[in-house]
Assembly symmetry: C2
Homo-oligomer: 195 residues x 2
Amino acid sequence: MPLLPLVLLSGIAIGELPETSSPPSAAPAVAPAYAEDGSLLRPEGFEEWVFVGASLGLSYSPHKAEYGDEFFHNVYLDRRAYEHYVRKGEFPEKSMLAMSVYKQASKAEGPAKLQGSFEGEFVSLEVAVKDSERFEEGWAYFDFSGGETQKRTAKPFAREKCYNCHAEHASEDNVFVQFYPVLRRLKADAPNESE
Amino acid sequence: MPLLPLVLLSGIAIGELPETSSPPSAAPAVAPAYAEDGSLLRPEGFEEWVFVGASLGLSYSPHKAEYGDEFFHNVYLDRRAYEHYVRKGEFPEKSMLAMSVYKQASKAEGPAKLQGSFEGEFVSLEVAVKDSERFEEGWAYFDFSGGETQKRTAKPFAREKCYNCHAEHASEDNVFVQFYPVLRRLKADAPNESE
Protein backbone atom coordinates (compact mmCIF):
# COMPACT_ATOMS: atom_id res chain seq x y z
CA MET A 1 0.00 0.00 0.00
CA PRO A 2 1.45 3.41 -0.88
CA LEU A 3 2.34 5.59 2.07
CA LEU A 4 0.13 8.58 1.28
CA PRO A 5 -3.26 6.85 1.36
CA LEU A 6 -2.16 5.03 4.44
CA VAL A 7 -1.39 8.29 6.18
CA LEU A 8 -4.68 9.84 5.08
CA LEU A 9 -6.75 6.84 5.98
CA SER A 10 -5.00 6.47 9.25
CA GLY A 11 -5.76 10.04 10.23
CA ILE A 12 -9.41 9.20 9.95
CA ALA A 13 -9.10 5.92 11.76
CA ILE A 14 -7.19 7.39 14.67
CA GLY A 15 -9.46 10.37 14.94
CA GLU A 16 -12.59 8.28 15.00
CA LEU A 17 -11.65 5.20 16.91
CA PRO A 18 -11.87 6.62 20.41
CA GLU A 19 -15.34 8.01 19.66
CA THR A 20 -17.00 5.02 18.07
CA SER A 21 -17.16 1.52 19.41
CA SER A 22 -18.68 -0.15 16.38
CA PRO A 23 -16.35 -1.93 14.03
CA PRO A 24 -16.21 -0.64 10.44
CA SER A 25 -17.27 -4.03 9.14
CA ALA A 26 -20.52 -4.17 11.10
CA ALA A 27 -21.52 -0.50 10.91
CA PRO A 28 -24.70 -0.69 12.99
CA ALA A 29 -26.85 2.41 13.24
CA VAL A 30 -25.58 4.94 15.75
CA ALA A 31 -28.40 7.49 15.58
CA PRO A 32 -32.10 7.32 14.79
CA ALA A 33 -32.99 7.89 11.13
CA TYR A 34 -36.41 9.06 9.96
CA ALA A 35 -38.46 8.88 6.79
CA GLU A 36 -39.89 12.07 5.27
CA ASP A 37 -43.22 11.52 7.03
CA GLY A 38 -41.47 11.36 10.40
CA SER A 39 -41.59 7.59 10.76
CA LEU A 40 -38.55 5.93 12.30
CA LEU A 41 -36.54 3.73 9.97
CA ARG A 42 -35.98 0.24 11.30
CA PRO A 43 -32.50 0.31 12.87
CA GLU A 44 -30.30 -2.16 11.02
CA GLY A 45 -27.69 -4.09 12.93
CA PHE A 46 -29.34 -3.68 16.32
CA GLU A 47 -28.34 -7.24 17.21
CA GLU A 48 -24.75 -6.03 17.28
CA TRP A 49 -25.57 -3.35 19.84
CA VAL A 50 -24.81 -3.97 23.50
CA PHE A 51 -27.23 -6.39 25.13
CA VAL A 52 -28.33 -5.14 28.56
CA GLY A 53 -30.82 -7.74 29.78
CA ALA A 54 -33.47 -10.34 29.02
CA SER A 55 -36.81 -11.00 30.66
CA LEU A 56 -39.83 -13.22 30.33
CA GLY A 57 -43.39 -11.97 30.19
CA LEU A 58 -42.68 -8.60 31.81
CA SER A 59 -45.77 -6.45 31.72
CA TYR A 60 -47.78 -4.02 33.78
CA SER A 61 -50.94 -5.21 32.12
CA PRO A 62 -53.51 -6.84 34.43
CA HIS A 63 -53.62 -9.85 32.11
CA LYS A 64 -51.59 -12.70 33.55
CA ALA A 65 -50.13 -14.91 30.86
CA GLU A 66 -49.84 -18.61 31.54
CA TYR A 67 -46.40 -20.10 31.88
CA GLY A 68 -45.42 -21.32 28.44
CA ASP A 69 -47.42 -18.55 26.85
CA GLU A 70 -45.16 -15.62 27.64
CA PHE A 71 -42.68 -13.72 25.50
CA PHE A 72 -38.96 -13.40 25.92
CA HIS A 73 -37.65 -9.85 25.61
CA ASN A 74 -34.02 -9.06 24.71
CA VAL A 75 -33.04 -5.44 25.23
CA TYR A 76 -30.13 -3.73 23.48
CA LEU A 77 -28.66 -0.25 23.82
CA ASP A 78 -26.98 1.30 20.80
CA ARG A 79 -23.24 1.25 21.18
CA ARG A 80 -22.72 5.01 21.15
CA ALA A 81 -25.29 5.51 23.91
CA TYR A 82 -23.84 2.56 25.84
CA GLU A 83 -20.37 4.09 25.86
CA HIS A 84 -21.85 7.38 27.00
CA TYR A 85 -23.69 5.55 29.77
CA VAL A 86 -20.46 3.85 30.85
CA ARG A 87 -18.77 7.23 31.18
CA LYS A 88 -21.60 9.43 32.44
CA GLY A 89 -24.29 7.14 33.81
CA GLU A 90 -26.99 8.74 31.69
CA PHE A 91 -28.67 8.31 28.33
CA PRO A 92 -27.56 10.89 25.77
CA GLU A 93 -29.80 12.49 23.18
CA LYS A 94 -30.39 10.14 20.19
CA SER A 95 -30.15 7.10 22.46
CA MET A 96 -31.85 4.05 20.99
CA LEU A 97 -32.99 0.95 22.84
CA ALA A 98 -34.16 -2.01 20.80
CA MET A 99 -36.19 -4.92 22.11
CA SER A 100 -36.46 -8.16 20.18
CA VAL A 101 -39.44 -10.28 21.21
CA TYR A 102 -39.59 -14.07 20.87
CA LYS A 103 -42.14 -16.73 21.66
CA GLN A 104 -41.21 -18.95 24.58
CA ALA A 105 -40.29 -22.40 23.26
CA SER A 106 -39.50 -25.73 24.83
CA LYS A 107 -39.45 -29.27 23.62
CA ALA A 108 -38.40 -32.75 24.53
CA GLU A 109 -35.30 -34.01 22.80
CA GLY A 110 -34.28 -37.62 22.62
CA PRO A 111 -34.81 -39.87 25.61
CA ALA A 112 -34.08 -37.12 28.17
CA LYS A 113 -36.62 -34.38 28.59
CA LEU A 114 -35.14 -30.95 28.04
CA GLN A 115 -35.92 -28.72 31.00
CA GLY A 116 -36.61 -25.03 30.76
CA SER A 117 -37.40 -22.79 27.81
CA PHE A 118 -35.62 -20.77 25.16
CA GLU A 119 -36.35 -18.16 22.53
CA GLY A 120 -38.38 -19.64 19.69
CA GLU A 121 -40.13 -17.80 16.90
CA PHE A 122 -39.32 -14.13 16.39
CA VAL A 123 -42.35 -11.94 17.14
CA SER A 124 -41.41 -8.29 16.89
CA LEU A 125 -38.87 -5.53 17.17
CA GLU A 126 -39.76 -2.57 19.38
CA VAL A 127 -37.61 0.54 19.66
CA ALA A 128 -37.37 3.47 22.07
CA VAL A 129 -35.70 6.69 20.93
CA LYS A 130 -34.64 9.70 22.97
CA ASP A 131 -34.86 12.69 20.67
CA SER A 132 -36.01 15.87 22.35
CA GLU A 133 -35.73 17.90 19.17
CA ARG A 134 -38.42 15.76 17.60
CA PHE A 135 -40.60 14.47 20.45
CA GLU A 136 -42.10 16.74 23.06
CA GLU A 137 -41.73 14.19 25.87
CA GLY A 138 -38.14 13.36 24.95
CA TRP A 139 -38.74 9.64 24.38
CA ALA A 140 -40.86 8.00 21.70
CA TYR A 141 -41.76 4.34 21.12
CA PHE A 142 -42.09 2.29 17.94
CA ASP A 143 -43.19 -1.21 16.97
CA PHE A 144 -41.88 -2.73 13.75
CA SER A 145 -44.08 -5.82 13.80
CA GLY A 146 -46.93 -6.06 11.34
CA GLY A 147 -48.40 -8.83 9.28
CA GLU A 148 -46.13 -11.54 8.01
CA THR A 149 -43.23 -9.23 7.36
CA GLN A 150 -41.50 -6.81 9.63
CA LYS A 151 -42.10 -3.17 8.80
CA ARG A 152 -39.29 -0.98 7.47
CA THR A 153 -40.69 2.12 9.16
CA ALA A 154 -42.90 2.77 12.17
CA LYS A 155 -44.81 5.77 13.48
CA PRO A 156 -44.47 6.74 17.13
CA PHE A 157 -47.12 5.45 19.50
CA ALA A 158 -49.50 7.87 21.16
CA ARG A 159 -48.33 9.02 24.55
CA GLU A 160 -50.80 6.88 26.51
CA LYS A 161 -49.74 3.70 24.75
CA CYS A 162 -46.13 3.57 25.97
CA TYR A 163 -44.71 6.81 27.27
CA ASN A 164 -46.94 7.13 30.31
CA CYS A 165 -46.13 3.68 31.66
CA HIS A 166 -42.40 4.18 31.09
CA ALA A 167 -42.54 7.54 32.81
CA GLU A 168 -44.40 6.07 35.78
CA HIS A 169 -42.55 2.78 36.29
CA ALA A 170 -39.08 3.03 34.76
CA SER A 171 -36.40 3.73 37.31
CA GLU A 172 -34.31 6.15 35.28
CA ASP A 173 -35.11 8.57 32.47
CA ASN A 174 -37.96 6.41 31.16
CA VAL A 175 -35.68 3.36 30.92
CA PHE A 176 -36.36 0.22 32.98
CA VAL A 177 -32.81 0.14 34.28
CA GLN A 178 -34.09 -1.83 37.28
CA PHE A 179 -34.66 -4.84 35.00
CA TYR A 180 -31.39 -4.68 33.03
CA PRO A 181 -28.50 -6.22 34.95
CA VAL A 182 -25.77 -4.77 32.74
CA LEU A 183 -27.00 -1.21 33.29
CA ARG A 184 -27.71 -1.83 36.97
CA ARG A 185 -24.10 -2.84 37.45
CA LEU A 186 -22.76 0.13 35.50
CA LYS A 187 -24.94 2.38 37.61
CA ALA A 188 -23.64 0.83 40.80
CA ASP A 189 -20.04 1.20 39.63
CA ALA A 190 -20.38 4.79 38.40
CA PRO A 191 -18.19 7.19 40.38
CA ASN A 192 -20.88 9.88 40.29
CA GLU A 193 -23.64 7.59 41.38
CA SER A 194 -26.11 9.73 43.27
CA GLU A 195 -28.48 7.06 44.54
CA MET B 1 0.16 15.07 17.38
CA PRO B 2 3.42 14.80 15.47
CA LEU B 3 3.20 13.11 12.11
CA LEU B 4 5.63 10.30 12.73
CA PRO B 5 3.86 8.64 15.64
CA LEU B 6 0.61 9.05 13.77
CA VAL B 7 2.01 7.20 10.79
CA LEU B 8 3.39 4.45 12.97
CA LEU B 9 0.25 4.10 15.01
CA SER B 10 -1.91 4.19 11.95
CA GLY B 11 -0.02 1.40 10.29
CA ILE B 12 -0.98 -0.78 13.21
CA ALA B 13 -4.55 0.40 13.24
CA ILE B 14 -5.12 -0.14 9.55
CA GLY B 15 -3.41 -3.47 9.54
CA GLU B 16 -5.58 -4.75 12.37
CA LEU B 17 -8.96 -3.27 11.66
CA PRO B 18 -10.11 -5.82 9.09
CA GLU B 19 -9.17 -8.65 11.43
CA THR B 20 -10.65 -7.45 14.67
CA SER B 21 -14.10 -6.15 15.28
CA SER B 22 -13.58 -4.89 18.78
CA PRO B 23 -12.98 -1.20 19.31
CA PRO B 24 -9.78 -0.13 21.05
CA SER B 25 -11.78 1.83 23.60
CA ALA B 26 -13.67 -1.21 24.84
CA ALA B 27 -10.97 -3.76 24.08
CA PRO B 28 -12.88 -6.92 24.85
CA ALA B 29 -10.90 -10.15 24.62
CA VAL B 30 -10.66 -11.54 21.10
CA ALA B 31 -8.86 -14.79 21.89
CA PRO B 32 -8.65 -17.04 24.92
CA ALA B 33 -5.79 -16.23 27.29
CA TYR B 34 -4.30 -18.73 29.71
CA ALA B 35 -2.35 -18.63 32.95
CA GLU B 36 0.91 -20.52 33.25
CA ASP B 37 -0.85 -23.50 34.82
CA GLY B 38 -3.20 -23.75 31.84
CA SER B 39 -6.19 -22.14 33.52
CA LEU B 40 -8.30 -19.84 31.37
CA LEU B 41 -8.20 -16.18 32.32
CA ARG B 42 -11.63 -14.67 32.87
CA PRO B 43 -12.47 -12.92 29.57
CA GLU B 44 -12.88 -9.22 30.28
CA GLY B 45 -15.46 -7.24 28.35
CA PHE B 46 -17.57 -10.25 27.40
CA GLU B 47 -20.72 -8.19 27.91
CA GLU B 48 -19.70 -6.20 24.84
CA TRP B 49 -19.54 -9.33 22.70
CA VAL B 50 -22.47 -10.22 20.45
CA PHE B 51 -25.47 -11.54 22.34
CA VAL B 52 -26.96 -14.58 20.60
CA GLY B 53 -29.82 -15.69 22.86
CA ALA B 54 -31.34 -15.97 26.32
CA SER B 55 -33.10 -18.84 28.01
CA LEU B 56 -34.66 -19.79 31.33
CA GLY B 57 -33.82 -22.94 33.24
CA LEU B 58 -32.42 -24.84 30.27
CA SER B 59 -30.96 -28.13 31.41
CA TYR B 60 -30.71 -31.77 30.49
CA SER B 61 -30.58 -32.66 34.15
CA PRO B 62 -33.48 -34.82 35.42
CA HIS B 63 -34.08 -32.30 38.20
CA LYS B 64 -37.04 -30.12 37.35
CA ALA B 65 -36.74 -26.69 38.87
CA GLU B 66 -39.87 -24.97 40.03
CA TYR B 67 -41.04 -21.89 38.19
CA GLY B 68 -39.54 -18.94 40.00
CA ASP B 69 -36.53 -21.01 40.96
CA GLU B 70 -34.81 -21.18 37.59
CA PHE B 71 -31.83 -19.32 36.19
CA PHE B 72 -31.71 -16.97 33.24
CA HIS B 73 -28.84 -17.64 30.85
CA ASN B 74 -27.47 -14.97 28.50
CA VAL B 75 -25.15 -16.29 25.81
CA TYR B 76 -22.56 -14.20 23.99
CA LEU B 77 -20.17 -15.03 21.15
CA ASP B 78 -16.89 -13.14 20.95
CA ARG B 79 -17.00 -10.59 18.16
CA ARG B 80 -14.21 -12.05 16.06
CA ALA B 81 -15.87 -15.47 16.07
CA TYR B 82 -19.25 -13.85 15.41
CA GLU B 83 -17.97 -12.11 12.31
CA HIS B 84 -16.44 -15.34 11.12
CA TYR B 85 -19.78 -17.08 11.71
CA VAL B 86 -21.57 -14.41 9.71
CA ARG B 87 -19.27 -15.00 6.76
CA LYS B 88 -18.68 -18.75 6.94
CA GLY B 89 -21.41 -20.23 9.12
CA GLU B 90 -18.93 -21.99 11.37
CA PHE B 91 -17.03 -21.40 14.58
CA PRO B 92 -13.35 -20.66 14.04
CA GLU B 93 -10.52 -21.88 16.24
CA LYS B 94 -10.23 -19.72 19.40
CA SER B 95 -13.98 -19.10 19.45
CA MET B 96 -15.28 -18.13 22.86
CA LEU B 97 -18.86 -18.31 24.08
CA ALA B 98 -19.68 -16.71 27.41
CA MET B 99 -22.80 -17.37 29.44
CA SER B 100 -23.84 -15.05 32.24
CA VAL B 101 -26.24 -16.65 34.71
CA TYR B 102 -28.77 -14.72 36.80
CA LYS B 103 -31.36 -15.62 39.37
CA GLN B 104 -34.92 -15.21 38.17
CA ALA B 105 -36.49 -12.22 39.89
CA SER B 106 -39.94 -10.73 40.06
CA LYS B 107 -41.69 -8.35 42.38
CA ALA B 108 -44.79 -6.30 42.81
CA GLU B 109 -44.37 -2.61 42.23
CA GLY B 110 -46.85 0.00 43.34
CA PRO B 111 -50.56 -0.72 43.14
CA ALA B 112 -50.26 -2.73 39.92
CA LYS B 113 -48.68 -6.13 40.11
CA LEU B 114 -45.75 -6.49 37.77
CA GLN B 115 -46.17 -9.58 35.61
CA GLY B 116 -43.35 -11.80 34.48
CA SER B 117 -39.76 -12.06 35.58
CA PHE B 118 -36.38 -10.53 34.87
CA GLU B 119 -32.71 -11.11 35.60
CA GLY B 120 -31.96 -10.51 39.26
CA GLU B 121 -28.79 -11.35 41.14
CA PHE B 122 -25.73 -12.36 39.12
CA VAL B 123 -24.81 -15.99 39.75
CA SER B 124 -21.94 -17.01 37.51
CA LEU B 125 -19.99 -16.68 34.31
CA GLU B 126 -19.38 -19.84 32.30
CA VAL B 127 -17.21 -19.96 29.20
CA ALA B 128 -16.71 -22.38 26.31
CA VAL B 129 -13.52 -22.22 24.27
CA LYS B 130 -12.67 -23.91 20.98
CA ASP B 131 -8.92 -24.47 20.99
CA SER B 132 -7.83 -27.68 19.33
CA GLU B 133 -4.16 -26.96 19.93
CA ARG B 134 -4.78 -27.13 23.65
CA PHE B 135 -7.77 -29.41 24.17
CA GLU B 136 -7.99 -32.87 22.67
CA GLU B 137 -11.75 -32.67 22.08
CA GLY B 138 -11.53 -29.20 20.55
CA TRP B 139 -13.87 -27.53 23.02
CA ALA B 140 -13.35 -26.99 26.76
CA TYR B 141 -15.66 -25.55 29.42
CA PHE B 142 -14.99 -23.29 32.37
CA ASP B 143 -16.94 -21.88 35.33
CA PHE B 144 -15.77 -18.65 36.93
CA SER B 145 -18.15 -18.73 39.88
CA GLY B 146 -16.76 -19.51 43.27
CA GLY B 147 -17.45 -18.27 46.75
CA GLU B 148 -18.46 -14.68 47.18
CA THR B 149 -16.20 -13.37 44.47
CA GLN B 150 -15.89 -14.39 40.88
CA LYS B 151 -12.72 -16.23 40.04
CA ARG B 152 -10.06 -14.69 37.80
CA THR B 153 -9.02 -18.04 36.37
CA ALA B 154 -10.72 -21.39 35.92
CA LYS B 155 -9.54 -24.88 35.07
CA PRO B 156 -11.31 -26.85 32.35
CA PHE B 157 -14.02 -29.25 33.46
CA ALA B 158 -13.51 -32.96 33.01
CA ARG B 159 -14.92 -34.28 29.77
CA GLU B 160 -17.93 -35.95 31.40
CA LYS B 161 -19.01 -32.77 33.16
CA CYS B 162 -19.75 -30.66 30.08
CA TYR B 163 -18.22 -31.84 26.84
CA ASN B 164 -20.17 -35.05 26.51
CA CYS B 165 -23.56 -33.38 26.87
CA HIS B 166 -22.63 -30.65 24.40
CA ALA B 167 -21.36 -33.25 21.94
CA GLU B 168 -24.56 -35.25 22.26
CA HIS B 169 -27.21 -32.53 22.29
CA ALA B 170 -25.81 -29.41 20.65
CA SER B 171 -26.91 -29.00 17.06
CA GLU B 172 -23.66 -27.72 15.61
CA ASP B 173 -20.02 -28.19 16.58
CA ASN B 174 -20.83 -28.56 20.28
CA VAL B 175 -22.77 -25.27 20.30
CA PHE B 176 -26.49 -25.18 21.10
CA VAL B 177 -27.26 -23.18 17.99
CA GLN B 178 -30.81 -24.56 18.12
CA PHE B 179 -31.48 -22.40 21.21
CA TYR B 180 -29.84 -19.16 20.00
CA PRO B 181 -32.12 -17.21 17.68
CA VAL B 182 -29.42 -14.90 16.36
CA LEU B 183 -27.26 -17.82 15.22
CA ARG B 184 -30.26 -19.77 13.94
CA ARG B 185 -31.14 -16.87 11.68
CA LEU B 186 -27.57 -16.44 10.46
CA LYS B 187 -27.49 -20.15 9.70
CA ALA B 188 -30.74 -19.94 7.78
CA ASP B 189 -29.50 -16.95 5.79
CA ALA B 190 -26.05 -18.40 5.02
CA PRO B 191 -25.51 -18.89 1.27
CA ASN B 192 -23.65 -22.15 1.84
CA GLU B 193 -26.24 -23.55 4.20
CA SER B 194 -26.02 -27.31 3.83
CA GLU B 195 -28.93 -28.39 6.02
